[in-house]
Subunit: 417 residues, 4 copies
């Protein structure tokens, strides 16, 4: 078996960590138990380009329990948990991922995943799909479908589909309510704050925290920052979202106005250069800048490099750039997803739902691919309801069911005032 | 001019109140100014079945500024502000609405609005549409379109459309983001709490407040109740929403479990009998029960009447029912929308956006009705963005604009890690 | 029996309202039941200068159950609930209080209370004590002690004591933890926001709300304003409190900076001219200004009167002042306690604890006055614990008790790391 | 120079970390600058038994800048940052502290500090004072005073003083408002949550988090846990605090009731066995148990050891105990202060104020010790105000000053309604 991980001897620690995560993943566990009996993925080869974490290890185990052969490569050079990668290899799953790998290695690892001749692809950011469509079109005929985990990837895929370039159906797992409403909001909210605190150990309360982008991730982060006592500011390009931020209690302003006020800045736009050269020029001495969007292009790091007269590393995940006038800007985690770079990514409890969607999406593709056109699709709402029910049960929380009379009432229109 | 209001001598007070609301309605004001110049509604007769409040008076003025003839009837027997009704009549707009009117009068008033032979209908709960379609089908040919303000009305209209009964196009103003995300959430959140406090003067902090239904209204109310210190419980039938409530920090349980725990219960389901006989049987002595859903059927009041051995009115908007075993249940505002019954409805600032949507929807129907099929439609997103921009400007808040580079990035898919 | 109330025929409504409040006052109820048996106040005449509300009616009933003769006058010209005053008179308690009385009547009513030759005085703002010490020193020998309800009164009494002018012992009920930590914080927080909303019906979320004074009342109000979505600003003269406000998540600035930013201003300083002429000059058009401090001197209303070119009353509790340049300032409730002027004062549930302190303080004075020196005293902590325990029991909440081992541990110092 | 640290070669990293902390300590910095000029501690030997962290390194530098000779030992076996210890030694300050040292070494290190013949002691938990008073009474005559940092230490010292055993004056730095209101509340709140998240990576939202002890630390932690979405429960022995917790929006119950409901438990009582054997017996499978009180006696770990059939370490700071019936209890950080064990202790920004109090307390003792009796004293309020002013200035926040008229008003009592 081919693989490329850092150190196989870390496998026992990775296995322990995977088991720890599993406790918080009751929904995926119940799917895993059913898959083990029913083997809905028998004979299917899956190439997964994902953050190689303890939660991903549980997804891989579930897919394998369902009968699939799984190969994994990293979806981000900085997010691999090397011990987990080792334990996956130890359990017989080929993994190509080393924390801190350079761009060449990163793409070589994606090539290795492509080489497994997958029937189904799983992406977190669409790098695997993009590689297949640009360099390995010969393999496309074999692929029956794919899944995409994150907003950024879905934006890319929709752009591909709009150009008529996307050659197979992809389920936008991100667009399931039980994914983006939970993982992106509560998962990113907590883990991004966690990443910033681990990287800097600064007190959040009393600080002005600027969130750039008020999608689900931004909503979650801004809400949690305020929950820790921050004075929150939101920057947005969509006026409806901007207004929602105002009503949620945040100050809203253009980034030009926010730049001189913020103590901590976070980008979660899914776009590019949300923090640009002229923003750095306006920032306070000591400003802290981080990103939790998928790619490390949301902060214009090359511009910062150019502006800086000096650079050093006061803490493991902090790079301090000193500008000509002496002001210091602290960039966290090289501008990569700070919740994965400096912390451990989303807590298992939210990944439970995201990866339950992945597992059920895999089964869905196997059962429905002949009816699915190339393009971006969403999972049926019934799967959302099923996942949410399992999750609530695992928390010992119950919900109501409509009575027949209530159902009839909702379907009628004659009854008025 | 025919009309039916309580007391014309209250017109000056109603005019003052309308002017007070107008200050908080800058978006509607700017539309009114444009309408006054462009007269996009010239020659159009509009029948509006709405809560007759100071905000509605500003909408009526805007429609009239646009050239329309407007007739108004109440959309709820308890929500009319009699002084505002008088001032509308005084300004030349026929109004048929008296606070506290009985059901016969209520429907007679709707008939009066129908008799104006409208081209466009505006509804808040679909009673006018339902009356037209069931009793005055002869008038339907004249109608080019309509607007619906609230969730309950949209549910009814979709049911009509599903049965093939809806005979003209209706814009679901409720479904505009600048309507339901703001009016239903922040407007209902504040004004419902306001209604409960005005009705009872109880301290909210430390109380267990049960929200039944976690749609936009329920989210808003539960959030505000917690903002006042309540211990919040949410009951839901949709597991995805139930799970969202958990993650938002609320306790979630079935209504059977919540019934004996709650101090205050609020229904906002859009359905029927969300609080039913067996729930009353489980409640604590002194429990307070209120509704903020559109119709007064969410609480099973007939059941409560049957169960009660005695009934009295300790405060203006409180009816105390004493059960056989001595427990007392306090029903607020006869189970009608408590924010309108005991308080003044949504603050003008949110109605500003809701009614900006109404005004622009009217213009949209005039311009596009030949292309619109009978059925329920939503307004283009561009109108949402325009309304939100105007609102932000009025608050002196600014937002960002995508640069060309950022636009290009979002439209591309080749750029990856 | 002499008395002066507005309309005795309102007595039944006042009695109903008093009974409604009584449900939320379980601690006072249990004291009332004990007093009825033990008669600890037998033969004592009490003159009480208090807000004449339904909660005060329950205190009066408790004192009378304990054997006291009680006479009541208003502690604020605008806070009397006339129906409650009527029901008190109907039940045999002389009351001198008419809502909206002028200053002369106000002081004539205090004189009437003084004329009852009290053994114990109860004050809310120290007007009764000040009248006794300045105009009726002949009555001082008869007085064995008194109680003071509010911060402002305690400040005045401490100033009197510092000058050696205070002639009898007064229990600062305000300084009991179960009073100021609850009544001043949670009571003022909710009821002040309630007063502002009833007076204006404005949406709180998205507004900039400036709290001037961050004592217990200010903390409560700022916290609740934020709970409703406001952007909160705090102004303070004590840097420690100012810093606490920062860490609690509020913006802190000098009032000069806040004046042009605020949409709503609230004074709760216990001082004078917290909002002064130069602040009005800097405010935005439409600014709303209210007070919840004891006296109506916290806002410099004479200055505003001088600056204004016009004045009118758009709503019952709103006076709109138009300045020379056209800007409008809206003063609420004539600058008097807005929670009493436009709403109903503190909810019964917090007054329960405040008035439990009053009742037990009365008993304490009867039992201990020979040992108490003239001056300001506080109640023993044991009374706080007793009141809090009763309150928790009434809410079905339990707390822990230290084990013997835990007691011993806390008393020892040898045990270390 | 004698010392005992882990690895001197880590000094550069420790220096960098100390510099990082210094940026967030502007108050201490300004005191350091004044001390460097005025040398108020010239000739004074100080023995400090503190958590050896980057913030402590800045305090040591300040004391030394003031002219003192400083020796440092650890106040907790698990809280030493070895790199900081190395950098302190490198800068010439003797340190006796190794992370993870056993109890014998811990006390040997205290002995080394005692051996420096201090004039002033600094404690965090009173172990140094206790050692001096029990084993080195011969050194007591030389000591002119001391400072104590934490609640637990102050409780011990008050117990010593009550027994007449305390032989020199000690300033309870903990009792300064700028210390306990900030460090204990906001510092412990954030850093304890940080410690729990780093130790477990669990999602906080939706979890039931039980805080045992509602002092300043408990208030801070419960508030931040709720800010992250937790369902919060508070257990208390003081009914007044319990009631405050209710009004702050937390559920309150006895620990017996909370034990089966909690997902995460935190002790911050300052006492012993707040979580005892019978509580473990009632807990859910997977319950997480942590302590942030000073000593590791708040959780009855020996009882847990006895109950367990198996024990292992799934993550670095988690010990999993498996009970007879298969339930697993996860103890974090061996029951020691979790914010120091698994995270980095209080953020520098709050330690800034705590250690500014320490530095000024040292100066105060030098200047006033002849007038201070043996016993526990507090710093004058003026020092609090000075520290808070400096802190606000460093945040660019301003506060108001009373005008002469306002001062006069507050000192007068004649002015009434």
């Amino acid at each position: 078996m081919e693989y490329d991980v850092k150190d196989l001897s870390q496998a026992p620690q990775g296995a322990m960590r995977t088991e720890w995560a599993e406790r918080e993943m009751p929904v995926l566990r119940s799917i895993c138990q059913r898959f083990a009996k029913e083997k809905p993925l028998r004979g299917i080869r899956i190439a997964a380009c994902l953050h190689v974490t303890s939660e991903t290890a549980n997804l891989a185990a579930t897919l394998r329990a369902g009968g699939a052969e799984v190969v994994i490569c990293a979806s981000n050079p900085l997010s691999t948990q090397d011990d987990v990668a080792a334990s996956l290899v130890h359990s017989g799953i080929p993994v190509f991922a080393v924390r801190g790998e350079d761009p060449d290695t990163y793409y070589r690892h994606i090539e290795a995943a492509v080489a497994s001749a997958p029937h189904i692809t799983i992406d977190d950011g669409a790098d695997l799909v993009a590689t297949l469509h640009s360099k390995h079109t010969e393999r496309l005929d074999q692929v029956v479908g794919g899944m995409e985990e994150t907003t950024t990837g879905v934006i890319r895929l929709r752009a591909m589909a709009a150009e008529g370039k996307l050659r197979y159906p992809i389920l936008a797992v991100n667009d399931s309510d039980t994914k983006h409403m939970f993982d992106n909001r509560y998962g990113t909210g907590q883990s991004t704050l966690d990443g910033i605190v681990r990287a800097t150990n600064v007190l959040i309360t009393g600080k002005t925290v600027v969130t750039i982008g008020y999608g689900w991730c931004g909503r979650g982060f801004a809400s949690r920052a305020r929950g820790m006592g921050a004075h929150t500011v939101v920057c947005e390009v969509d006026p409806v979202r901007a207004l929602e931020a105002v009503m949620d209690g945040h100050k809203v302003m253009a980034m030009n106005e926010a730049a001189p006020l913020g103590d901590i800045f976070l980008t979660v736009t899914g776009g590019v250069k949300a923090i640009d050269q002229h923003h750095f020029q306006a920032m306070k001495d000591g400003a802290i800048v981080a990103n939790s969007g998928h790619f490390n292009v949301e902060i214009n790091i090359p511009a910062l490099e150019n502006m800086a007269e000096a650079k050093r590393k006061p803490r493991e995940f902090v790079e301090e750039y000193t500008l000509e006038d002496g002001r210091r800007i602290n960039l966290l985690g090289e501008g990569r997803l700070i919740n994965l770079a400096a912390a451990e990514g989303h807590p298992a409890s939210v990944m439970d739902m995201s990866f339950a969607n992945q597992a059920l999406a895999g089964e869905y593709i196997v059962n429905h691919h002949p009816q699915l056109q190339p393009g971006v699709h969403v999972l049926p709402k019934e799967i959302d309801r099923q996942i949410a029910s399992l999750k609530l049960n695992s928390m010992n929380m119950s919900f109501d069911t409509l009575t027949d009379e209530q159902e009839r009432y909702l379907a009628s229109w004659q009854l008025g005032t």
